[in-house]
């Protein structure tokens, strides 16, 4: 059977160049970078080279990069660290309704510890408004965290404008660039951000490694993990050396072919979006029509439950995901789609197709071959029958079946 991987926002395969470079650091170069002897020094040098590569890929200086275990830890580390250090200056934190749970749950936890939280709304495309941010800022605001590009609907936020506003008021600005990295330009000075999150496994690097950019002079401190003096006291724990080497190489490759690759992906994406909207009735694109990631297409199919769609696709060899995220066992549909004003029943029919560098036109053709009959079959079986739209509106509880856990 043909196998098509359409879930690059969830994770990406590791590029062979990356895997190859990592192997040496699992075998001969196995030393602990903290060790003073040759085995340690040799590995320390490689870690510092990886740091330079990561820094260069986002226009930062090497000592502004702290390695850690991934995007989630980076988000936690950034937000918690800034909050704890600056709480004598103010207790107000601003974020947006469409953030990843790594940000939202961290901010909400701080809300229970005496911080005041503002969660900015988004428009129907999932976009945060600069005016809304301006109105939300108070003289107690210490941190603003707004993602660069959204994982569920691909919408790119106007980070430059948002961050400029923060800078004007002397407020620390963090952005989660996990999804934008390698797909659109990410430069910390162009964006004007103070902290920025990167994750290896979304850019054809390994899982379990990430980095946090911390602009020199930012009032931040490590508040999660304490112990040895690794990462210049900014992150305790023996370094994930092979992972760090892989992340360095992945960042280097991510920017090397950015333009060509994103042009290619944009072409595929636009073909996919057009084919779906033209050929499958009662279907909507979610997220912004143009200000979206070049590899990202997301839809809501009316009268269908997303999960059955995904399972049917999986049986045809296509790996995609629903736009809905959940924390273990939750039956709620995606917080992102709901915050965009998409009704519950429609949000349940969401699907996310995220393309990668290995996908081809034929993959899109194959998808367009198998998808329409799946939709037709599921709609025929659906209790959310299109001829009885009234039922669909009112039986919302019935469609609250389990939703998937994509990240």
């Amino acid at each position: 059977m043909r196998r098509v991987y359409f879930d690059h926002s969830a994770t990406t395969p590791v590029r062979p160049e990356v895997a190859e470079e990592m192997q040496k650091y699992l075998t001969e170069n196995f030393g602990n970078p903290t060790s003073l002897h040759y085995f340690g020094r040799q590995v320390r040098k490689a870690v510092e080279e990886a740091r330079e590569k990561v820094a260069a890929s986002i226009g930062a200086k090497p000592d502004e990069i702290v390695f850690n275990s991934g995007g989630t830890e980076s988000d936690n580390m950034a937000i918690h660290g800034v909050a704890m250090v600056n709480k004598n200056r103010g207790n107000h934190i601003i974020t947006s309704a469409v953030e990843h749970h790594a940000v939202l749950n961290t901010v909400k936890a701080l809300g229970k510890q005496g911080f005041t939280i503002t969660i900015l709304p988004v428009d129907k495309y999932g976009m945060v408004s600069v005016d809304d941010l301006a109105n939300a800022i108070t003289d107690k605001t210490i941190l603003i965290s707004i993602m660069h590009a959204n994982n569920e609907v691909g919408t790119i936020q106007p980070i430059k404008e948002l961050a400029a506003l923060a800078r004007e008021k002397g407020i620390i600005f963090h952005t989660d660039a996990v999804q934008s990295m390698g797909k659109i330009p990410v430069n910390v000075d162009d964006l004007g951000v103070d902290l920025l999150t990167i994750s290896g496994h979304k850019i054809y690097g390994p899982k379990g490694v990430g980095a946090l950019y911390i602009r020199k002079g930012t009032r931040w401190r490590q508040t999660l993990f304490h112990g040895g003096a690794q990462e210049r006291l900014r992150r305790a724990g023996t370094e994930n050396v092979p992972g760090i080497i892989g992340l360095g190489r992945a960042c280097e490759l991510a920017v090397e072919n950015l333009e060509k690759e994103s042009a290619y992906l944009t072409r595929l994406r636009d073909k996919l979006i057009k084919s779906v909207l033209d050929n499958i009735p009662h279907t909507r694109l979610t997220g912004h029509p143009t200000m979206r990631l070049p590899n990202h297409a997301s839809f809501c199919f009316e009268f269908i439950e997303g999960e059955s769609m995904l399972l049917s696709l999986d049986m045809k060899g296509i790996a995609a995901s629903s736009g809905s995220a959940c924390t273990s066992g939750s039956l709620e549909p995606s917080h992102v789609l709901l915050s965009m004003g998409i009704p519950h029943e429609l949000a349940h029919g969401s699907i996310r197709i995220t393309l990668g560098r290995d996908n081809t036109e034929e993959d899109i053709d194959y998808f367009m071959e198998v998808m329409p009959p799946i939709v037709e079959r599921l709609r025929a079986m659906s209790p959310l029958d299109q001829e009885n739209e009234f039922v669909a509106e009112s039986s919302c509880a019935a469609c609250k079946v389990s939703s998937s856990c994509h990240r």
């Binding site: 879930d7 969830a10 196995f30 003073l36 790594a102 790996a319 990240r407």
Partner: protein, 392 residues
Amino acid sequence: MAIREVYLDNSATTRPLPEVVRAVVDALENNYGNPSSLHRKGVEAGRVVTRAREAVAASLGVAPAEIVFTGAGSEAVNLAIKGARPGKRGRHVITTAVEHHAVLNACAQLKEQGIEVTVLPVDAAGVVDPERLAAELRDDTYLVSIMYVNNEVGAVQPLVEIAAVIGAARKAGRRLLWHVDAVQAYGKLPLRPRELGVDLLSISAHKVHGPKGVGALYVAPHTPLQPLVAGGGQEWGLRSGTENVPGIAGFGVAAEMIAREGHLAADRLRPLKKRLVEGILAAVPGAVLNGPACDKENPRCAPHIANISFPGLRGEILVHSLEGRGIYVSTGSACSSGKKPGSHVLQAMGLKEDVVEGAIRFSLSITNTEEEIDYAVKNTAAVVEELRALYG
């Protein structure tokens, strides 16, 4: 063949086993799915994690659902200490003077939050007195963190006696959590947290021929623990973040090895350590062993770590000179926090300054051979003689 390289710094980190490397690479190349995804690629990656979890659990004699994977041993320690909920009355924590910095610095954090921390002293061999623990327990003590094997001198703490103290306190109605940093004991000594009544236990893959960047915390059922990292809710909500699938896969293979052969490790390591220590003490006048005396009958002596001082010389210089002869050792913990000079462990043992300054740590793995030990003994003696001629 003449020996040119002898790696005796296995407490800093170990060389991953070939089977471990294969598992890591296989996960990188083939099992690249996200375990949270519902489709086949995700399910396959999820299976890799499940298998590894079962292997780690089996190596500790616990249930898979009691294992939480973390990004390092240090993170496991931090999660245990800072994640343990004090409950209504909890205001006091007890630890020891010879813990790893992950424990000591996590406790320092608790202090900043208003928790009182009692640091138990150790004897001249680096061993804690269980009766001292019993004496320090208070009504508001909610957490005790005592390591199993010390990473610098190989002192094995009397966990059975400590378990008895803690057990008695619990019987008397105290609500006490017990964390054991078993990073250096794992794979070398039998480790059965359930039998001891341990609630939280930290281990790290790279100390047992697994990959770096992955650790685990054993969490006994019903332990009140809150996460330090929030997000997608992976690892039962105790550790969010996409799983380090390749690292976890490698950890699983290392754990399988331990479940299979771990009970043999001590008996294989002990003769090597004995040969090393006796060899050096015999060949180098003035050399002293720090930590518990190393014979088979002494249960306080770890089978793989030997800390030896050459008073009058400096540890760092010895390390460098030995490296010149292809022997890799360290002055103590690889991850010392670099704040105060001199090992906090040796100082806590009350050793004299020249003994502290002249200490180096040899740490063995089952992959070391007698031939390597003999090479190390001979060259250590030669290096010390050379240096003494220079500085003495």
